[in-house]
């Protein structure tokens, strides 16, 4: 856990009063689960979209695997990532399997892997159903399956447990925890739920009003207040934001 797999230097989006992300310096070590925490509208999704080059930063740089990300090498870097941002992306008129086939083609992955991932997220039995008939939780699983396809080195998941039932949440949580150990995948997972991050993450970054107000290990966070929750609430401006 000594090298950083992703670093950002004063990453900024927006100008003046409309600062969505304000000079953020992320340090994400390889092989960890990095919990990205913040109240609703704090700038979590914006930051993750910036990491993927979906938004153009107003200022600052992003470094992936020791390489500075530019418009030119963006896709070759992103080949080693898997992501699920906002809500899952899918073509509703196609079946789950057909959606996966499209992603597999784009990522140039073999058909065997599709079966693998679909079984991992336990969607294999539903693969021949149109995605628009899926429940919210199933769509979310499909989104996670798409992100996992191609054995990425970094997995970026934006609130992955949205819409899942308690059993599903538990399952995904255990699964994420295992990823660095079994598959050597670094995971960045965002959430507005402290309890969720607490159970999965090794490292935590807390963002509020577009600014990174804490970055470090869970243990370090605990020393900031009586309890984790207390520390989190103190930093994010108390209970008003939750």
């Amino acid at each position: 856990m000594n090298t950083n797999i992703i670093e950002t230097d004063s990453l900024t989006k927006g100008t003046g009063r409309q600062m969505r992300v304000n000079h953020i310096d992320l340090r994400i070590p390889e092989g960890c689960v990095y919990g990205f925490l913040g109240p609703n509208g704090a700038g979590k999704t914006t930051t993750l979209k910036l990491l993927l080059g979906l938004l153009k930063p107003s200022a600052g740089t992003i470094t992936f695997f020791g390489q500075k990300m530019t418009e030119k090498n963006r896709l070759s870097i992103l080949k080693h990532t898997g992501s699920l941002i906002e809500s899952p992306s899918f073509y509703g008129h196609l079946t789950g399997l057909e959606n996966m086939q499209i992603i597999a083609k784009l990522k140039k992955v073999s058909a065997r892997e599709i079966t693998n991932v679909l079984q991992t997220v336990r969607l294999y039995d539903q693969k021949d159903k149109k995605v628009k008939q899926y429940s919210l939780g199933m769509k979310q699983r499909l989104g996670i399956a798409m992100a996992l396809l191609g054995n990425p080195r970094v997995l970026i998941l934006d609130e992955p447990t949205n819409g899942l039932d308690p059993a599903g949440i538990q399952e995904i949580r255990e699964f994420i925890k295992e990823l660095p150990i079994i598959r050597q995948i670094t995971v960045i997972v965002s959430s507005h739920l402290l309890s969720e991050i607490e159970q999965m993450a090794d490292m935590v970054g807390i963002i509020n009003h577009g600014e990174l107000i804490f970055q470090g290990t869970l243990e370090a966070l605990e020393t900031k207040g009586d309890s984790l929750e207390d520390a989190f609430l103190k930093m994010t401006g108390g209970r008003e934001s939750l």
């Binding site: 979209k49 993927l52 080059g53 979906l54 938004l55 153009k56 418009e71 896709l75 992103l78 990532t81 992501s83 941002i85 906002e86 809500s87 899952p88 992306s89 899918f90 073509y91 509703g92 008129h93 196609l94 399997l97 057909e98 086939q101 499209i102 992603i103 597999a104 083609k105 784009l106 990522k107 073999s110 058909a111 065997r112 599709i114 079966t115 679909l118 294999y124 039995d125 539903q126 693969k127 021949d128 159903k129 628009k132 798409m146």
Partner: protein, 520 residues
């Protein structure tokens, strides 16, 4: 009710809905105004306007109404609001509000059209005074017929959340309606479809012999058109309500209930999820083709040229004494309206559909992480171009079949290959501009309306000898739609087509490159 209507107005804020009708109005008046300053018009202007405007209406209003209705209904599909509305308003209120909203808009439009022509007549200085009864009748006809079309489009847009279906229905219908205006031998056909009513309800005739117009006269309306219009009105209004009432709100959209399976839902559910146990494979198809699986686009692709061919041939057979040069005059019958007024919006439907796949939900996030902009735009234009070429080739094939059926003495013209080549090249240019428009404008219907406008402007550009300045006229000129005897300067033609293709391709790549992704 007024309250609900004002709500509806609020919902459609910033949707450019009124713009659709405003543009339609401007185009009709501009087009009519352009042709009004010659001698003949001053003599008989009041009657001549009544003769010409129904044709303009028949070409332009149906597609504009399809766009308009689709805009109003699609905002509920997209915003996933049906399930919320269903808990706040009674179904009848939802339905009648949408109906009244469209009615108000069309009423205003028809009134404006009436006033515009009266004002124009006085300004240009038509001889005599307008027959107010005639103009009143014209107003009522425009209003009622357009309103019927609105109802029909509204219902189709409601049933199929995929707006391609509604737009294709509108295009096919208006194509048929327009053609039937030129087949007076079968008056009944015009009456049967609501798009044909513009032609069927005309009450001014033209007295003309070969390129010379003697005058205009009132004619008797004895084809029973009124009854068909009224019949359609009640059928659509009540039928629409009946369908709407019996639809289930199913997540994102309404869908028709299936009563027959009601008793044994359990069993059907378990069988419908039946899983194939074949090993998973990745098909050897381009990604973009995999994405358009199970789409209804091919229906329009088959039907629209078919309508053009059938009615074109029938019209040709009926006018044998007027038309001479066999294969060539048959070609004009087949291709003229199709290439100018229907092919551009049809390409628009293809392009809009392709980009809508990515505009939906948060698909942009996934697509741009996995594909580069230049590749993505290239694929989209390529697929669009492939469908467009197939459509044009299908038109040519139908032409040959119809020609063989008629039994011309001469062989099939070899120039056809050149026409098709030029048409396809110009068609790809249209694909490029439509793909760009549909990429930038996230609405499904607006780019299609712009394509119709483009085709119309293309006609004006061709008339002015500057066909190469618009992709739309490049396509129709390439197909030699207005005159198969024309020769085209190939160097100019090819260089302008390639220029447009590269221009709009680069613009699209540039647009994706320097704009942040927008997800719904």
């Amino acid at each position: 009710m007024i309250y609900y209507l004002s709500l509806e107005l609020k919902k459609t804020k910033r949707r450019g809905i009124w713009l659709v009708l405003a543009v339609l109005f401007l185009v009709i008046t501009a087009w009519a105004g352009r042709n009004m300053n010659n001698e003949r018009f001053l003599e008989q202007g009041w009657l001549m306007a009544l003769f010409n405007v129904p044709l303009l209406n028949a070409i332009l209003i149906p597609t504009a109404i399809a766009v308009f209705a689709s805009r109003i209904i699609d905002l509920e599909h997209k915003g996933n609001t049906w399930k919320m509305l269903g808990t706040l308003q009674s179904k009848f209120d939802i339905y009648i509000t949408k109906v009244l909203y469209g009615m108000t808009a069309i009423l205003i439009f028809s009134l404006l059209e009436l006033i515009a022509f009266l004002v124009m007549g006085y300004v240009v200085g038509f001889k005599g005074t307008p027959d107010l009864w005639a103009y009143g009748l014209f107003f009522v006809q425009t209003f009622v017929i357009s309103f019927n079309l609105y109802l029909l489009q509204m219902i189709v847009s409601l049933i199929f959340s995929n707006q391609a279906v509604a737009l294709c229905t509108g295009l096919c219908g208006s194509m048929a309606g327009l053609f039937l205006m030129y087949v007076p031998q079968w008056p009944l056909l015009r009456n049967i479809i609501p798009w044909g009513h513009y032609g069927a309800s005309m009450f001014v005739g033209m007295d003309a012999e070969r390129n010379h117009i003697n005058g205009f006269y009132y004619m008797d309306q004895d084809n029973g058109c009124v009854f068909f219009i009224i019949g359609w009105f009640f059928l659509l209004l009540i039928g629409g309500w009946f369908i709407f009432q019996h639809m289930d709100t199913d997540g994102y959209h309404f869908h028709l209930k299936r009563h027959s399976q009601h008793g044994n839902t359990k069993t059907t559910v378990s069988t419908s999820v039946s899983m194939s146990h074949k090993p998973v494979k990745i098909p050897h198809l381009p990604v973009e083709l995999m994405k358009i699986k199970r789409t209804p686009i091919w229906i329009a692709f088959l039907v629209l040229p078919l309508i053009s061919a059938l009615i074109g041939t029938a019209n040709y057979l009926n006018n044998l004494e007027l038309l001479k040069s066999t294969w060539h005059s048959l070609w004009t019958q087949h291709s003229l309206f199709f290439c100018y007024f229907f092919m551009p919006p049809l390409v628009g439907v293809y392009a809009s559909y392709l980009w809508r796949l990515e505009h939906n939900g948060s698909n942009w996030n996934m697509v741009l992480v996995n594909t580069s902009a230049w590749r993505l735009v290239f694929d989209k234009i390529a697929v669009c171009a492939a469908i467009t070429s197939l459509t044009l080739a299908w038109l040519c094939l139908l032409y040959i079949i119809c020609g063989l059926y008629i039994g011309f003495a001469e062989p099939i013209p070899v120039e056809l290959a050149e026409w098709l080549f030029c048409g396809v090249l110009g068609g790809v240019a249209v694909c490029a501009i439509q793909c760009f428009l549909s990429l930038v404008i996230r609405s499904f219907a607006i780019p299609i309306g712009m394509a119709l406008l483009g085709g119309f402007t293309g006609l004006a550009a061709t008339a002015g000898g500057r066909y190469h300045l618009l992709p739309y006229s490049l396509m129709s000129m390439g197909m030699r739609a207005n005159n198969p005897n024309l020769t085209v300067d190939m160097a100019v033609f090819i260089s302008y087509s390639v220029f447009f293709i590269i221009l709009f391709y680069s613009l699209s790549v540039w647009y994706i490159g320097c704009h942040d992704v927008k997800t719904q």
